[in-house]
């Protein structure tokens, strides 16, 4: 009764609009969005306003403390300005993280929904491939590949995408299995609709809750993965860098008290990963509410 009267008074609202309203009433999620946006502005617009030399080294300016000689966060052992370096490193981390996360999500969603919807031997084959993939530790695979080819940014995206699509594939398959027996999907099948219509128009849009939530965690994980790889010295070729690589460079100065080489990059990683996790939590709550009502 209550819902009927409420829906009559409320103007028609798409599920997306309702979901957005729900999302923005979650404080932590909003904080997450603010942090991500702030870090993006910092990394992409920052270098335009605060221009520094980040290609050639300048040993005359090496190891300056914060505030010295016009360097707010000091310089590192090669004379790069740390604040400026934090910006261009963030560009790599965020771009590669987002791209790899999105790539993994798209690949995984398509794979999982096709396997789940078609079922039978197609499903069995596709999912055994996923099982095999999950059995190999992603970080190990990443290190081996990085050892063979010194990766560029886009190479990193491909490699991280290739190791992290497995989880979304499993999640989507589970969703597709339950969705394919829904009446609206049966109706399409029964009245002569094609498989691609059922998958693209009905299965995937209805897995969006699970998929979007997982995607935010994928992005956070990808950023961490780049950090790991770079930290272990298998990342990008200098002078290109990312937050993980900055940490590695700084770690050698840890005993000389050069905190500014470690904290800024470390805090940036913690911030962006937490922010994406907050967003993911917020999205999950939002879709949970939708499921209950």
């Amino acid at each position: 009764m209550s819902t009927a009267t409420l829906s009559r008074t409320a103007p028609p609202k798409s599920p997306a609009a309702r979901a957005a309203h729900e999302f923005f009433s979650n404080k932590l999620a909003v904080i997450g969005v603010v942090i991500v946006v702030a870090l993006m502005v910092f990394s992409f617009i920052g270098p335009l306003l605060y221009q520094t030399e980040q290609v050639s080294t300048n040993l005359m300016q090496a190891d300056l403390k914060p505030g010295e000689d016009g360097h707010p966060l000091g310089t590192d052992g090669l004379g790069y300005d740390v604040l400026g370096r934090l910006m261009i490193a963030g560009r790599t981390s965020i771009l590669v993280g987002l791209a790899a996360g999105v790539l993994a999500t798209i690949l995984g969603t398509l794979w999982g929904s096709v396997a789940g919807y078609l079922g039978g031997w197609v499903d069995a084959t596709m999912m055994r491939i996923v099982d095999a993939g999950i059995a190999i530790p992603g970080i190990f695979l990443l290190l081996v590949i990085s050892a063979i080819v010194r990766p560029s940014e886009w190479m990193m995206v491909l490699i991280i995408g290739a190791v992290s699509w497995l989880v979304p594939a499993r999640l989507t398959r589970a969703e597709a299995l339950s969705l394919k027996s829904r009446d609206y999907v049966l109706a399409i099948k029964a009245t002569g609709g094609s498989n691609s219509r059922a998958i693209l128009r009905h299965i995937i849009p209805n897995t969006i809750g699970t998929v979007v939530v997982n995607a935010t965690f994928q992005v956070a994980d990808a950023i961490l993965l780049i950090a790991y790889v770079s930290f272990l010295g298998m990342g990008l070729q200098p002078p290109a860098t990312d937050w993980g690589a900055m940490l590695t460079d700084g770690i050698s100065s840890v005993y000389s008290g050069a905190w500014w080489l470690i904290f800024p990059a470390g805090i940036a990683i913690v911030l962006i990963v937490s922010a994406f996790n907050f967003i993911g939590d917020g999205l999950r709550d939002m879709f949970d509410v939708r499921g209950q009502s």
Binding site: M1, D183, Y184, G192, G193, N206
Partner: protein, 576 residues
């Protein structure tokens, strides 16, 4: 001493006075119950009837103090003379299951699937009585016997999934009875059950109330159940009591227009000629009229012969449909009835290619639907429309209503072409008008519509390609009776207008009677009986059909008494 006995007898098992229940929600206050008063005497069965949203379930939950914390209540609720509304949580824990207990709708979820049934019954005893485990177990077995579980010693050691649906509900009733409560609240106790099982459970409840002098508060939407079981009736609508009275008076001579409208919407079965039916059952005779060939293929849209459907489960084959025939002529509505597991839905899905057909032939619009090419099948199926049971599940929640209705047009094209937006919108508006909904609804999403509106949308989508055959699988089972009445009326009007053939699958014999010209009865995957609706429902030839008909409770208490006697007579002739 003697005075106290007299006094306790006068205390009603449940007294509700001026009960008001509000819920605070994000979008304001919802008044669920607005000033309701009634009482139930010991040994009395009071039925509270109403459609969804009438406040009947909230009233029953209040009596158990099981309302969510967002609820605010005022008024008086007393169980066996004790206040419930202001009782402490621990005081209520001591009462629940002890003084007042509950029978739930869905026995499978009311029982713990990983616990043997005797343990579950014993648990209810141990909660309130300081007896040893052995005593509790012995009492549990005795209770299981009392509620009519065969071999109670053996069945007591079973898990819920090893019992049938009816037996599970008997266990739930045994748990409710465990501490000999003063009041049992039964919220739709038979709604999840088949009619033949429902008849057994109703019989059990009737006997138990008579034996134990327990009061029974029966919450239901089913007028037949009310007629069968209750002494008095409270009719609720929008949180208020519309009418109160004895069952016979309210159901046969209702005073209020709302009650009259509600009763008028309940589809009824014609009374079978019970005397002749029972006599025929005794002598195993069939009716002479039944010999006449009733099913003639005039202009068949669907002709299925010898259909077998096998499901493979764990290396074993499970035969869901066995050698079934079904014929539907153009412009004819054929009812397909059966209880759950009878294979009626499976047979209905065979022409749609949704189930693995392992034998027989399917002729759709004169073409062989099993041997045709993929392309031909696609074309054949574009001439079928379907509606499903759950109006919530049959529409994609992420698509607007307009997109859902237009989807078949996009899939199969209009005049051999993919329709442009304006053509699509015009056709959607036309279809919405056909199902008596404003065209503005095209922009809305399914969650913004009521169940009845969604089912109309489902109907509009099914009609989008002007089908020659409509397959309706329990299209009104999830709806309230008044809404069901509207949807059925609409379906009949549209059928007359467009002249499509229709397969109407339902578990409800009365609904099938109100729409179909012919009827086919199924049981355990087999077609038991087919023929003209009036003949099958009044002169049933098969023993199963007779039993089924006698199990459907009539909303008229006097008729129901006769039907109940007929059911006994049929059962006893079966045993002899």
């Amino acid at each position: 001493m003697s005075t106290t006995i007299v006094e306790t007898r006068q205390v009603p098992a449940l007294k509700v006075e001026n009960l008001v229940v509000d819920f605070k929600t994000k979008n304001g206050t919802v008044n669920a119950v607005r000033g309701v008063s009634f009482s139930v005497a010991p040994g009395e069965v009071l039925a509270v009837v109403g459609e969804s949203g009438s406040g009947k379930t909230i009233t029953s939950l209040t009596s158990m103090a099981l309302l969510p914390s967002t609820a605010r209540t005022s008024g008086v609720v007393e169980v066996d003379g004790h206040d419930v509304l202001n009782a402490s949580a621990s005081a209520m824990d001591a009462k629940r299951g002890n003084v007042v207990s509950m029978v739930f709708q869905e026995p499978m979820t009311a029982l713990n699937p990983s616990m043997k049934v005797d343990k579950q019954v014993a648990e209810a005893i141990l909660n309130h009585r300081g007896v040893s485990k052995a005593e509790a177990h012995a009492r549990a077995v005795a209770l299981l016997e009392k509620v009519g579980i065969p071999d109670p010693e053996v069945k007591a050691r079973n898990y819920p999934h090893q019992l049938s649906g009816g037996q599970r509900q008997r266990v739930v009733i045994a748990i409710a009875l465990a501490c000999e409560p003063r009041l049992i609240i039964a919220d739709e106790p038979t709604t999840a059950l088949d009619v033949t099982v429902q008849a057994e459970i109703l019989e059990l409840l009737r006997n138990l109330v008579q034996e134990t002098n327990t009061a029974l508060l029966l919450i239901t939407h089913n007028m037949g159940v009310v007629a069968d079981l209750s002494d008095r009736v409270v009719v609720m609508n929008a949180g208020k009591i519309v009418e109160t009275g004895t069952t016979v008076q309210v159901l046969t001579a209702p005073e209020q227009p709302y009650t009259r409208a509600l009763l008028a919407a309940v589809p009824t079965l014609p009374e079978a000629q019970w005397d002749t039916v029972i006599a025929a059952e005794r002598t195993k005779a069939s009716f002479p009229e039944a010999e006449v060939k009733e099913i003639v293929a005039v202009d068949p849209v669907l002709d299925m012969r010898g259909i077998c459907v096998d499901y493979a489960s764990g290396g074993r084959k499970l035969r869901a449909v066995n050698d079934a025939d079904l014929l539907i002529n153009r412009g004819e509505i054929v009812g397909l009835v059966g209880e759950s597991g009878s294979g009626k839905s499976t047979l209905g899905r065979a022409p749609l290619g949704l189930v693995p057909v392992t034998g027989g032939s399917i002729t759709l619009f004169g073409g062989n639907a099993l041997k045709a090419s993929k392309r031909q099948i696609r074309t054949l199926r574009s001439r079928i429309g379907i509606i499903f049971q759950d109006p919530g599940g049959s529409l994609d929640p992420r698509m607007t209503v307009g997109d859902s209705i237009a989807e078949p047009l996009v899939m199969h094209g209009v005049d051999g072409r993919r329709p442009v937006r304006s053509v699509r919108e015009a056709r959607v508006a036309e279809l919405l008008e056909a199902v008596r909904l404003p065209a503005a609804n095209a922009q809305r999403y399914p969650h913004e519509l009521s169940g009845g509106q969604r089912q109309r949308i489902g109907l509009a989508r099914a009609l989008a390609l002007a089908p020659e055959l409509l397959i309706a699988d329990e299209p009104t089972s999830a709806l309230d009776v008044s809404v069901q009445d509207e949807v059925l009326t609409l379906l009949l009007e549209l059928q007359k207008e467009h002249g499509f053939g229709c397969l109407f699958i339902s578990h409800d014999l009365a609904v099938v009677h109100s729409v179909s010209q012919r009827v086919t009865v199924m049981q355990h995957g087999n077609v038991i009986e087919s023929g003209a609706t009036s003949r099958v429902l009044q002169h049933p030839e098969a023993s199963y059909t007779r039993h089924l008909l006698a199990s459907v409770p009539s909303p008229n208490p006097i008729m129901q008494k006769r039907r109940r006697e007929a059911r006994f007579a049929l059962l006893s002739s079966k045993d002899s």
